[in-house]
């Protein structure tokens, strides 16, 4: 009990210095938490990809289309359960900053994506509305889309004014599921294109393939790609996960930098606390000599210095972590919706932040403890700051 009191009093000797250090740690923990949150969101958007689905795209790049006729050929490959074609629509909703995915899909899409939960009522309505669309709960909430509303998109890849009616709203199955997509009939897109610009119709950007047994994904991928070898549109088939990774790899360098930075921040703040601890310990050189003279042991001195370091690190870390939640949700408000499909603090981020704070506290105390223990009593008394 006495020791805690002394640790506390020691920490409060230089109130300004201690306060600044605590806030430094708090800010570092917040920055760490924010960066880690972005990094883990990025990773989990790759993780969210279905394991039992394959994606077939044009071998060179997914911006080049594939013929619609490939669908029946792929369906014929042994082990393939169902195939769904998809076209990236792009376009603008009212304003460029309203970013969310708009994709034309074959109607069996929702069979392949059970994590997109659509009620039977909504789905029946969708089937019967030629220009119907199903939107994710997240964007429905954000833009206040309701069943029956008209959504007008300004096309870019497919120019013109496009009108859709909201047939239904899908619910993401869990928090890793993307709730920000707008999905509509491929047939509606294809027929309209054929009317307006004949020659651009019957194209698919990627096929989503559900297979019977995930263990066969490698062979099935090979077989599919072999089908179209030496054709005008060769294909590349891979798991959805690998596809998602290649999709985000362009931004991967930024993520790597953020990853690195998050840990660099921890390193910097460790030096700040270490500096505070070294200054404190230096000023108390004589006092440590007194403690030793009175018979206090290395364990006592270690406890005194480590305790103070941990106290400061824990208060700073605690403030940082408790501010992290409101700050992340504030961040979520200002981010354009759909830029990140989901925004939440992973438990691992908190675990990392807490262990970083503890580690900072320990490492910052190492040098002052070493110094205090290795200064002879007589040298401690002769020390003049």
């Amino acid at each position: 009990m006495k020791v805690f009191k002394l640790i506390f009093k020691n920490a409060l000797r230089h109130k300004l210095r201690t306060t600044l250090t605590i806030f430094g740690i708090a800010i570092a923990v917040i920055a760490f938490g924010l960066l880690r949150t972005v990094v883990t969101i990025w990773d989990s958007s790759v993780d969210a990809a279905g394991a039992d689905r394959l994606i077939t795209r044009q071998a060179v790049s997914f911006i080049f289309p594939l013929p619609v006729a490939y669908k029946t050929k792929i369906e014929a490959v042994p082990g393939v359960e169902s195939v769904c074609g998809a076209v990236w629509f792009g376009g603008t909703y009212k304003d460029k900053s309203n970013f969310f995915a708009r994709v034309a899909m074959d109607d069996n899409f929702f069979e392949l994506y059970p994590e997109f939960i659509v009620s039977e009522e909504d789905f029946n309505r969708y089937k019967n509305e030629r220009n119907g669309c199903i939107v994710g709960k997240s964007i429905a909430d954000q833009y206040n889309f309701k069943v029956g509303d008209i959504i007008v998109l300004d096309g870019d890849i497919f120019p013109g004014r496009w009108e859709f009616v909201v047939s239904g709203i899908y619910l993401p199955q869990n928090k890793n599921t993307d709730g920000t997509q707008m999905l509509f009939h491929y047939d509606y897109l294809n027929e309209t294109i054929k009317q307006n610009t004949p020659g651009r119709g019957d194209q698919i950007f990627w096929y989503i393939i559900k297979i019977e047994d995930i263990k066969n994904s490698a062979e099935i991928s090979e077989q599919i790609d072999a089908l179209f070898k030496n054709s005008t549109a060769e294909t590349k088939t891979e798991t959805e996960k690998a596809f998602a990774q290649s999709f985000v790899s362009a931004s991967g360098a930024i993520i790597t930098a953020m990853n690195f930075m998050s840990f660099a921040i921890i390193g910097i703040i460790m030096l700040v606390l270490a500096n505070t601890m070294v200054m404190s310990a230096r000023e108390r050189t004589r006092e440590y000599a007194v403690f030793k003279t009175l018979g206090f042991s290395a364990i006592h001195l270690t406890g005194l210095i480590l305790g103070e370091s941990m106290l400061i690190a824990c208060i700073g870390g605690g403030i940082g972590i408790s501010l992290l939640y409101p700050i992340v949700s504030g961040f979520e408000q200002v981010m354009p919706k759909g830029f990140f499909p989901f925004f939440f603090i992973e438990p691992i981020t908190i675990i990392l932040a807490v262990s970083s704070a503890l580690l900072i506290g320990i490492l910052a105390a190492v040098f002052p403890i070493h110094k205090a223990l290795n200064t002879k009593i007589v040298d401690g008394f002769r020390f003049v700051g």
């Binding site: 006495k2 002394l6 009093k9 020691n10 409060l12 000797r13 004589r286 006092e287 000599a289 007194v290 403690f291 030793k292 003279t293 009175l294 018979g295 206090f296 042991s297 002879k376 009593i377 007589v378 008394f381």
Partner: protein
């Protein structure tokens, strides 16, 4: 009377930049139980060094050192720490109180290493602070006390564990005459009434007068100067 401090052919050198600085050479000194010994001598003559050796906060380079029945030159670091906490009290020129602790807490410090209960510690601390005349200043912090009062707290801290030996390194060196006299009177009382053996380093001839024996140290050699 028995000999409580036996310094037998002790030498002490310090090393600085690989250079040996001899401070004490073959020094022999006996102190009897109940003595109040004053050590004088020019600055740099090794008074503090000798005191530190006797008190077991430094080790001799050569020679034997038996204090309170223990050959302290042979103790290891933790053995020495334990020995100090049981046998010696220290008073320094600059008091060396812990600034964030009250007078009471400073005096309680050495008792934290004992098995005494909280209420037993309280009894000892209060009794000791009353002896040094600071029963009414227990909850004051060092910076709220005068120099003389601070030194009295330091003396209380030194004797609260009831050690047999008290060492004091220029205890009045930083005090005005009145405060210095009070401290010396207190030391005399501790010597006579409480039977503490005291070794005190001082510059002040007035201080030395209060002692029962006076020794001069010059360039590491003892020069006897009986009073």
């Amino acid at each position: 009377m028995s000999t409580i401090i036996q310094v037998n052919k002790v030498s002490k050198s310090y090393w600085r930049n690989n250079l040996e600085i001899p401070v004490l050479q073959d020094l022999t000194l006996n102190v009897e139980e109940g003595e109040f010994l004053a050590l004088m001598g020019p600055s740099g003559s090794g008074k503090t060094t000798l005191l530190n050796l006797i008190a077991g906060i430094d080790r001799p380079s050569k020679g034997d050192l038996t204090v309170a029945g223990t050959d302290i030159a042979k103790l290891n670091e933790s053995g020495l720490a334990k020995w100090r906490s049981e046998n010696v009290g220290f008073v320094f020129q600059f008091y060396n109180l812990i600034p964030v602790l009250t007078a009471y807490e400073n005096v309680e410090l050495p008792l934290l290493l004992t098995k005494l209960s909280k209420s037993e510690r309280r009894k000892h601390v209060e009794a000791t602070l009353n002896i040094v005349g600071l029963g009414d200043r227990m909850n004051h912090y060092p910076k709220q006390l005068s120099g003389g009062q601070e030194q009295r707290v330091a003396i209380a801290r030194a004797v609260v564990t009831d050690p047999v030996i008290l060492v004091a390194d220029e205890p009045t060196g930083d005090l005005d005459k009145t405060s210095a006299d009070e401290i010396l009177t207190l030391m005399e009382r501790l010597n006579k009434e409480f039977k503490k053996t005291i070794v005190m380093v001082t510059h002040d001839p007035h201080a030395a007068e209060r002692a029962s024996r006076l020794l001069q140290l010059d360039k590491g050699d003892l020069v006897l100067e009986p009073i």
